[in-house]
Amino acid sequence: MNKTLLILRHEFLHTIKRRGFIIMTLIVPLVALLAMGVLQLISGIAEPPVAEEVTIGYVDKSGGFEGYTQQDKVNLVRFDTQDDATEALVEGDIKEYFVIPPDYISTGVVSRYTLEKQLEAPADIATAIRNFLLSNLLADKVPAATVDRVEAPLNLVTTRLTETGAIAPEQGGFGNFIIPVVFSLLLSLSIVFSSTYLLQGLGEEKENRLIEILLSSVSARQLLTGKVFGIGAAGLAQVVVWVISVPILLSLASSTFGGFISTIQLPANFLVLAVVYFILGYLLFAVLSAGIGAISSNTREGQQLIAIFTLSLFIPLWFMSLLMLFPNNPIWVVLTILPITAPVEVMIRLGVSDIPAWQLAASIAVLVLSIIGILLLTIKVFRTYLLMYGKRPKLGEIIRSLRSG
């Protein structure tokens, strides 16, 4: 077997047998499951009234608000005076009450009284009060169907057309947004872990001097190529496990989420671009890790250095909400073309809007050129600095060794 392939095979097997790797591969789907559970729990707590009927009181000082006292699950009871209402509230007969003042028609002010400490009125209560007021105001003046429409005037259905006027196969929206975001998160996690393994592996070989035996058998180029692709294959295998297991676990955990997943249509080019950017993104960080592994004096220092780059990888995720609000800002073009942010930025942008072909071409070209450039530099410094340990080369020395090769 070719020596590069031997190293690739060894690094792949060595990586997937690592305890940390196995734990990470298992823990991500479990954390996703847990997060979904917590989310459901919170949303469950936030909307208890959906299940049970609630009685609230009101005092009508304006007059004319008598009908429509059953609003969905909210039952409205009229009180003559505010004192009666307060008494009922304290007794626990009603959950809260509101007062429609005499000048309501001109001001719109309604005072609400409750025993609970709240940020604002719960949405279902506010909707019930609003619809109660609306229905009473419009009663006998317009047809009942119009009242219904005034309560819910807009149900916007958007259809995206292609340039020829046909219905576009890919319609956009949140369903299409969630998968690119989840995928870019998985991609960044896997890139971070894989480059850490590469750094640790090199650090170990450097510290225990195994590197000398390896370099007496193979060239620096074979060693680096085998390592980068071997650990990369392990990282890819990890992502595959995640991509397969997360939806299965989620649909097992919650039927609503499972149904949601089945409605998602992925952009046709998304899968191709996802694979391309995973590979390019990983390669970029792998060659960076190898270069940093070569010049740093020990594993810990190397990890601190690579952290600068891995943090940059996550920049597009930090600004995701801004991207959703302002998808056409030129800053996203910069992040698309900048090699360190490109893999994640492109994934997220694909979920939000289209990316012009020239931007994708430029982004891939810059990524490929960066990878080749860093790889060449790394091979140059690799031999010199892998034998140094416990001593970090000064910047000037690195530049000198780059020149002399």
Binding site: I7, S216, S217
Partner: protein, 307 residues
């Protein structure tokens, strides 16, 4: 001394005027030597003399600033790396890997196929008494055992040239003897062995030729027996019973543990002195021409510059 004048006897290694400097300090300064096939060559010198740097340049791990190295008649290539065995000074293996897997992996990087690597590894482990430990992880083995594993890694692929940097450090006397026997076996199979060590006396019995270096420069180079005889002081060691009176030709007597060293004048040979001693009628238990140890020669050559 020239070895291998015949065309068939290709040199195992040839080093020509190599120089390596770090931060303007020459660690190896204009070093030249050659190693023939079927010999054990000693690269000796004190700590920091430049031995390891020289070896790393021979293994193409670092490049010399100037000069060149030829291994088995050619510049070192990927293919010729398979014919080299190397035991570096500082030892390390993958801690989590088992002994047998470590050997097989590193042997496969020397071009062995898996099957024959495993077969040979079992054979060598058996030979060194390590077979019961083959499934243990490297981190579970003692320092000496790891060392034996690394030594096996250096020779498993049947290399033409084996370079061993401080091979005995960390080995117990039993394993030292075992490893020494294996060196001699390698030489007898026509392989070249380069032994690098700062413990000069340890390799005296093994080496055919030596290169002694100090501060990156060669201070002695050649056949060990010839070097020793040229540094021989004209004296004999004597262990006897009886009364030793004045012996003609002896200019000094030094008492050592268990024997007396007789320093001879320039015109007297050891043979003449033996005849004279026998004629005095004393009982001679031991009579030996005194040869200096490599350590003594080194100190003599380097003189006060050392230490």
């Amino acid at each position: 001394m020239r070895v291998g004048e015949a065309a068939s006897a290709m040199l195992a290694a040839e080093v020509n005027h190599i120089v390596k400097s770090y931060a303007d300090k020459a660690v190896v300064n204009d070093l030249s030597f050659s190693v023939a096939q079927g010999e054990i060559f000693g690269l000796i010198g004190p700590n920091g003399a430049g031995k390891t740097t020289t070896i790393r340049m021979m293994m193409d791990i670092i490049k010399p600033d100037s000069g060149d190295v030829t291994i088995l008649g050619e510049k070192l290539t990927e293919a010729s790396k398979n014919k080299l065995g190397y035991l570096p000074e500082e030892r390390g293996l993958y801690r989590k890997l088992t002994a047998i897997d470590s050997i097989i992996y590193l042997a496969s990087l020397k071009g062995m196929d898996r099957h024959s690597a495993e077969e040979k590894a079992n054979e060598l482990l058996n030979h060194t008494g390590m077979l019961p430990h083959k499934k243990k992880r490297i981190e579970e083995l003692s320092t000496g055992m790891r060392q034996v594993i690394q030594f096996l890694v250096a020779i498993i692929h049947d290399p033409e040239l084996v370079i061993l940097d401080e091979p005995f450090s960390g080995l117990d006397p039993v394993n030292t003897e075992l490893v020494k026997r294996m060196f001699v076996d390698l030489r007898n199979q026509g392989k070249a062995v380069i032994l690098s060590t700062h413990r000069m006396n340890e390799v005296e019995e093994l080496c055919d030729r030596i290169l002694m270096i100090n501060n990156g420069r060669a201070v002695l180079h050649g056949n060990l027996t010839e070097i020793k005889s040229s540094y021989r002081s004209n004296s004999v060691l004597l262990d006897f019973k009886g009364e030793l009176g004045e012996v003609p030709g002896v200019i000094d007597k030094r008492t050592h543990k268990g024997c007396v060293e007789l320093v001879l004048d320039e015109n007297t040979t050891p043979e003449q002195i033996l005849e004279r001693l026998v004629s005095t009628g004393i009982v001679i238990n031991r009579f030996e021409v005194a040869t200096p140890s490599l350590n003594e020669i080194f100190l003599k050559v380097v003189g006060k510059n050392h230490e």
